[in-house]
C-alpha cells in the first residue's frame, strides 16, 4: 500500500506538484498521464526522494519514507527511466546486478537472479549476459533497464516513460512482458506515460495530471465514462472513447449462449480485438473457446457494441 498525502513541490514561486493525494493498492499498476510539464516525473521522483517534497508525505505500508535513509529506500524501490540509463562500462549482467551487489547478496544468488531475469525478458543469458549496453538494440537495452530495476525484488517499481523510445511493435511486446512479470512477482507499479493507449491497457488505475494538479484518479472505465473535467475528456479522446471502452472488456464479458461458425476466439481476447476480427472476416458472430479450446458459446457484433455504448 502506497499512500501519497498532500504531496507538493515548489521551485521558488512555481508549484510543479500541487497537493496531490493518491492511495495505491499493493500489486496494482497505476499509470500517470498528463501534458508535458504537468509534474508527472516530479511526482514520481518524490516517491523515491530523488526530489525532496516541499510538503506532504509518502507512506509505504504505513511507514513515512522520510524515516528511511534515502539510499536504503531506493534499494527497495525499482526505478526505470526512458533511455534506460544503463552503465555503458558494465556488461548486461553487471548492470542487472547493481542493486543486489549494493545490498551485498552472495554471488550465487546474484547469478541466479540475473539468469532468471534475462530469461524472463527473453534475452538468452549465454548470448547477452556478457554484452555491453551499446551492443544491444534499443528494445533490448530497455528490457535490461527494466530487468535491472527489478533485480532486487523491489516491492515498488517506478517507471518514467519506460517504453517512450520504442517502436510500436517492440513497445507492445515490452508492455506484455511488464504485465506478465508484474503478475508473477506481484510488484506494485507506478508508470508515467504520454500514450493513452498504454495507460488504458496497463493501468488498473489511471491518474490524470494537468498543471501540477491531479485532476482525476480512477479505473480506466471510470475515467472514460465519467471524465471529471473537460481536460480529461479531451485527453481520453471523445472519438476513441467507445473503442477504448471495448478494449477494457474481454469476450468473456459479452458471452452469449449458442453455436456459431468460423474461427473461434479465445475468451481472454479484448472486445475491441474481437470486433476487429469479425469486421475483417465479414461475420456477425464468432464461437468462443477457453484456453483449452473447449467451446463456451458465441459472441456477436450487437453484443460487443452494447459494451461500447455510453452507460446510462
Amino acid at each position: 500500500m502506497i499512500e501519497i498525502e498532500h504531496l507538493t513541490k515548489r521551485y521558488g514561486n512555481t508549484t510543479v506538484v500541487d497537493d496531490v493525494s493518491l492511495s495505491i493498492a499493493k500489486g496494482t499498476i497505476t499509470v500517470v498521464v498528463g501534458t508535458s510539464g504537468s509534474g508527472k516525473s516530479t511526482l514520481l521522483r518524490m516517491i523515491n526522494r530523488l526530489v525532496e517534497p516541499s510538503s506532504g508525505r509518502v507512506l509505504i505500508d504505513g511507514r513515512d519514507t522520510m524515516s528511511i535513509p534515502e539510499d536504503a529506500l531506493r534499494h527497495r524501490i525499482g526505478y526505470a527511466i526512458q533511455g534506460h540509463g544503463l552503465f555503458p562500462h558494465r556488461t548486461v549482467a553487471e548492470n542487472i546486478a547493481t542493486v543486489p551487489r549494493l545490498l551485498g547478496w552472495d554471488q550465487a544468488r546474484i547469478d541466479s537472479r540475473v539468469d532468471e531475469l534475462l530469461r524472463l525478458f527473453q534475452l538468452a543469458p549465454d548470448e547477452f549476459a556478457r554484452k555491453y549496453p551499446q551492443q544491444l538494440s534499443g528494445g533490448q537495452q530497455q528490457r535490461v533497464g527494466v530487468a535491472r530495476a527489478l533485480a532486487a525484488e523491489p516491492e515498488l517499481l517506478l517507471m518514467d516513460e519506460p517504453f517512450g523510445a520504442l517502436d510500436p511493435i517492440i513497445r507492445g511486446k515490452a508492455q506484455e512482458d511488464l504485465l506478465a512479470i508484474q503478475r508473477r512477482f506481484g510488484t506494485t507499479v507506478i508508470l508515467v506515460t504520454h500514450d493513452m493507449e498504454e495507460a488504458f491497457h496497463l493501468g488498473d488505475k489511471v491518474a490524470v495530471m494537468d498543471r501540477a494538479r491531479l485532476l482525476q484518479y480512477g479505473t480506466p472505465a471510470e475515467i472514460l465514462v465519467h471524465p471529471a473535467e473537460a481536460y480529461v475528456e479531451r485527453l481520453v479522446g471523445t472519438a476513441d472513447r467507445p473503442f477504448r471502452l471495448l478494449s477494457l472488456s474481454t469476450v468473456a464479458d459479452a458471452l452469449e449462449p449458442g453455436p456459431a461458425s468460423g474461427q473461434p476466439v479465445d475468451k481472454g481476447t479484448s472486445l475491441r480485438d474481437a470486433l476487429a476480427r469479425m469486421m475483417w472476416a465479414g461475420r456477425t458472430e464468432m464461437p468462443v473457446v477457453d484456453g483449452a479450446g473447449a467451446a463456451l458459446g458465441k459472441v456477436s457484433v450487437a453484443g460487443i457494441l452494447a459494451h461500447g455504448r455510453q452507460p446510462a
Binding site: N48, L50, H75, I81, H84, G85, H89
Partner: protein, 252 residues
C-alpha cells in the same frame, strides 16, 4: 599496415636500447658531425644512467601532477567544490603558461640546485592536460546514467568510484599521456640547474659546439617520447576495451 607499425616500433626500441647500452657502436655515424677530433659519442657520463634519471624525474613529476590534478578535478566537480572551479582553472592555467625556465629561476633560490626545481617545473607544467581531461571526463558522464545510479541508491562515493571515474578513465589517461610526452622534452632544461638527465648531453654539445652530442641527446629523448606515447596509447586501448568502449582513436 599493423604489422609495419609494430615493426617500426620494435626497430625504435632496439635502436634506443642499443644506443644507450653501447653508444660507441654508433661512433662512425656521428664522427662526421664533429670537428677538431672532438669525441663523437658523449663521454662525460653513462647515457644509460642519464636516461634512467631523466625518466625517473619525468615519471615522478607526472605522478605528482596526476594525483593533484585528478583530486582537484574530482573536488571541483562535486557540489561542495563547484564554486572553486573557475579559481582552480585559472591556477592550473598559470602553471602551464608560466614558462618552465622561469619556474626554475624562481625555484632555485628557494629549494637549491638539483632535481627539486626541475620536479616543481615539470609538475606545474604537466597539471593542465590532466586537470582539463579529468574535468571533461567527469562532466561528460551522461546525466541519465547518473540519475539511474542515484535512483538505484548508489551513494555519492559509490557513484564516483563505480560510475564517474571508470567512465572518465580513458580521457584522464589521455591527459596523463599528453603530460608525460610534453615533459619528456621539457625535462631537458633541468640540466641547467644540475638535475641529472638527458639535457646534460645536449648542453655539453652546446657548450663545446659539438653537434654530435646535441643530436644524441635529442635522439634519445625523441625515441623515448615515441615509445612511451605508444605504450600509453596501448594502455588506454586496453582500458577502453575493458570498459566496454570501442577502441577510440579520438581520445586526445
Amino acid at each position: 599496415m599493423r604489422a609495419l607499425a609494430i615493426l617500426l616500433r620494435l626497430a625504435a626500441l632496439v635502436l634506443l636500447v642499443t644506443f644507450i647500452a653501447a653508444p660507441n657502436l654508433f661512433a662512425p655515424v656521428f664522427q662526421p658531425l664533429t670537428t677538431y677530433d672532438a669525441p663523437a659519442i658523449y663521454n662525460q657520463g653513462s647515457l644509460f644512467s642519464l636516461t634512467l634519471s631523466h625518466l625517473a624525474t619525468v615519471f615522478s613529476a607526472a605522478l605528482a601532477s596526476t594525483v593533484v590534478a585528478v583530486l582537484l578535478g574530482i573536488f571541483v566537480t562535486r557540489p561542495s567544490g563547484l564554486e572553486f572551479l573557475p579559481l582552480s582553472r585559472s591556477l592550473v592555467n598559470i602553471g602551464q603558461t608560466f614558462p618552465p625556465v622561469a619556474v626554475l629561476a624562481v625555484a632555485v633560490p628557494l629549494v637549491g640546485f638539483g632535481e627539486a626545481p626541475t620536479l616543481i617545473a615539470l609538475f606545474l607544467y604537466g597539471l593542465l592536460p590532466i586537470f582539463e581531461n579529468t574535468l571533461s571526463g567527469l562532466t561528460n558522464v551522461s546525466p541519465l546514467t547518473l540519475e539511474a545510479a542515484k535512483g538505484m541508491g548508489m551513494s555519492a562515493r559509490q557513484r564516483l568510484l563505480g560510475v564517474e571515474l571508470p567512465l572518465a578513465l580513458p580521457i584522464i589517461l589521455a591527459g596523463i599521456r599528453l603530460s608525460v610526452v610534453i615533459n619528456l622534452g621539457t625535462a631537458t632544461i633541468g640540466s641547467t640547474v644540475a638535475a641529472k638527465g638527458l639535457g646534460e648531453v645536449i648542453i655539453a654539445g652546446l657548450q663545446s659546439n659539438n653537434t654530435a652530442f646535441i643530436l644524441q641527446g635529442g635522439l634519445i629523448v625523441a625515441l623515448l617520447a615515441i615509445l612511451i606515447h605508444d605504450a600509453l596509447m596501448s594502455v588506454e586501448r586496453i582500458v577502453a576495451r575493458r570498459l566496454g568502449q570501442q577502441p577510440a582513436g579520438a581520445a586526445a
